[in-house]
Amino acid sequence: MLSVLIWIPILGAAIIGFWPSGTITANRVRLSALTLSGLVLLWNLFILFKFDITNPGMQFQEYLPWNETLGLNYQLGADGLSILMLVLNSLLTWIAIYSSSKQTERPRLFYSMILLISGGVAGAFLAENLLLFFLFYELELIPFYLLISIWGGEKRAYAGIKFLIYTAVSGALILATFLGMVWLTGSTNFSFDAVSTEKLSTAKQLLLLVGIVIGFGIKIPLVPFHTWLPDAYVEASAPIAILLGGVLAKLGTYGLLRFGLGMFPNAWSIIAPTLAIWGAISAIYGALIAIAQKDIKRMVAYSSIGHMGYVLLAAAASTSLALVGAVAQMFSHGLILAILFHLVGVVEAKVGTRELDKLNGLMSPIRGLPLISALLVLSGMASAGIPGLTGFIAEFIVFQGSYSAFPIPTLLCVVTSGFTAVYFVILLNRTCFGRLDSLAYYPQVLWSEKAPALILAVLIIFLGVQPTWLVRWSEPTATEMVSAILPIDKTVISQLAVK
């Protein structure tokens, strides 16, 4: 069942990539990629529908022995942590393909790379084997590099290489940690349940955990390791930015939750205070830098850093409420970032600039882009945490869950949430409001271009009003993950108290 999610896109990528050139137009390639990803999305919804929300463990498990010498097995499973991410992945892949231009240059390579990424990300979320996870994790590297550096903006070569190197370093760190986890525990298998790090001394656990945090921190990205993000997001074309921000960043937070919290509950509670402060700093930094930006895409890119900081805070707090909040925040951030990047892409395509100083009065009903501006206002509000939209729900759960554990960082994040509103108001004020330049004459926005944003907007509002659908999937898993921590947590604290 789950294999379909991985292999349909990958096989589709192979077929599209090797289809004889000249026999197929760009639009046909796009349509076939769209159909494939649509099928995957439907299948994913079907799985979501079959998902048993009372079961905290892995569901729909699949197992195939692969390479015994390396301890690498083809072992899949989905739980509350991954099921929403899977849906997000296939939804955003579909939207990314949908929002791509009908006249994309070199369409076969473009769409096969997107499908390859989609399959790879699904594989990483599903893998129940460290090495298998790593394999799928590294599979994203080259396709994203090509997507940024072929179809990107002006400085795409620089952005592509920067992304490549940062991600490769992150991969190297993660692999080293995985090898360490497996070998130090004396396990012969990379399977999740074969690796139990409890036997290790606290120092070793901490060392490995730091490797995990930095490795995934580059991908999330957390503040000192984030410098690839603005370049990559800004230089990437809109569909690629949607995938980068919506999906790839989630791979980082997912890795942090699954491998950091899930596998080192003991050491996690020791570094949790640091992580909470780190998350708060990351959030504040992202928000403050975003205020200073003059380019709307850059602003959205930095907003992403800020919002990922909340996930780190929630993960650090690791109460069951905070974890549910973390998953909800990952999902809603994926939706909001996707709609923002899509709208920014539309604005750039129609107006021809992303500069705050040049944009003005897009709200103007006849000559402007009224619906796009309205949606931009809506998604800016969603991102800033206005009630009634999914962003508020997720952030509120995060803050509610984290306050009991780390009040100061939580308060700092609440303040940041205010800053988020500040730069989105700046953004909206400079773009949507004001007077339209009298010379402005923008092309019509087609319905097909509005559709993805409308779908996302409906989802954002629906989940904001009916948040059960956002949180019900991850509750049992979060509770179980936390219950794995608590007893150890107390012993550690008592040990520390004795010292």
Partner: protein
Amino acid sequence: MDFANLASQLNAGTILPEGIVIITLLGVLIVDLILGRTSARWIGYLAIAGLLASIVALYFQWDATNPISFSGAFNGDDLSIVFRGIIALSAVTTILMSIRYIEQSGTALAEFIAILLTATLGGMFLSGANELVMIFISLETLSISSYLLTGYTKRDPRSNEAALKYLLIGASSTAVFLYGVSLLYGLSGGQTELNAIANGIATAKVGQSLGLVIALVFVIAGIGFKISAAPFHQWTPDVYEGAPTPVIAFLSVGSKAAGFALAIRLLTTAFPLVAEEWKFVFTALAVLSMVLGNVVALAQTSMKRMLAYSSIAQAGFVMIGLIAGTNAGYSSMLFYLLVYLFMNLCGFTCIILFSLRTGTDQIAEYSGLYQKDPLLTLALSISLLSLGGIPPLAGFFGKIYLFWAGWQAGLYWLVLLGLVTSVVSIYYYIRVVKMMVVKEPQEMSDVVKNYPEIRWNLPGFRPLQVGLIVTLIATTIAGILSNPLFTLANNSVANTPMLQAAIIVNTQASIITTEQPEAL
């Protein structure tokens, strides 16, 4: 000594694969003498058939009950079989590449193939050589043929210079090796067989004497030259740039595999007493090779030079397995060399194809190639990405196994360095991919703008195409469907008594040394 006893001592059946190569070699020479240039159309295929027959013969040698032959001078154990197979396969691919290349350079194909087969023969014998004289003779057979091959396109001054440089360095390093070997002979009280040397040194109670250490260092100088480990690598970039490209393909895989075969056999059997020392030396070599190979490769503009530094770096990775010295370590070396065969030869086939069509191998000239030659772009990208260790290609699994074995043996820093330098390597491998794939049509180089129409039916292009596609497919799927190769590598190590004995000694020693820190 009666005849039956003599026959069993000789046990000449073990060298049947080499016998087939010798017959092919003579066949090629004689046919060339009788028919002259007219035979050039099919003589390559004759040689390939011979080599394939030799590989089939190797298959039947697997798990031979009595691998020791020629009174102990040659050991046809499973380890040697895998290495001989790698060398023969690399010769097969090299011939596929060279049919057109040599024709175009206006030199005789049959002579080239004859020398190449001699080098193959030397390498194959070296893989199983179990006695000092035998080792030296096969090493020289390999080396002398390599010098000749390097300078084969004798009208090209670069080829001449490369041959001279290779000859001078090669001959001196063989002399150093010979001095080390002669010291071994003296230290062990006149033994030339490897096992007897170990016993001889043990009974002579020289222990870890200075003489043994000097012998070790001298021997390593010879081995390091063959596997082009830094700091014995200086010949590699110049030779790779000057020599005919098919020769480089052979040197980078066949000759290197022979060097590693020699390293395993000689170091584990003759130097058990100084195992810590040679591991230390090889750690230094591995660190230097990984750092130097990968960092200097960043600054190259010629494709062949870049692959030269890359091959230095790859030797550094393989040495991790040798230093680990465990079952997994040795079999990860074997596995890596097997996949290295596919990916490197795939890469070199692409380079030959490109230089045949355009006459250059500068990296900058590749820009915009995807439009004119998608197959070449795909194959070169896949092989370079595989060399960089990108999943799910063969090279990724090879590196994972090496690192896994290294980590298992406690070589944490070495593995971490390997990981870091892998990241560096991705940068220069991707640079070529970027040239070919990412560049816009208007950024196309002049050479690519005038790219000739792709025609596979020109004489000698068909074998190139076959070689390209086979190695490309192998590079792509040898990782995913790696179980047979893993089994092959693991079994060959597990079935080799020599290694098993060495590993037992080694683990006993390491238990003694590691128990103390554990107690602390």
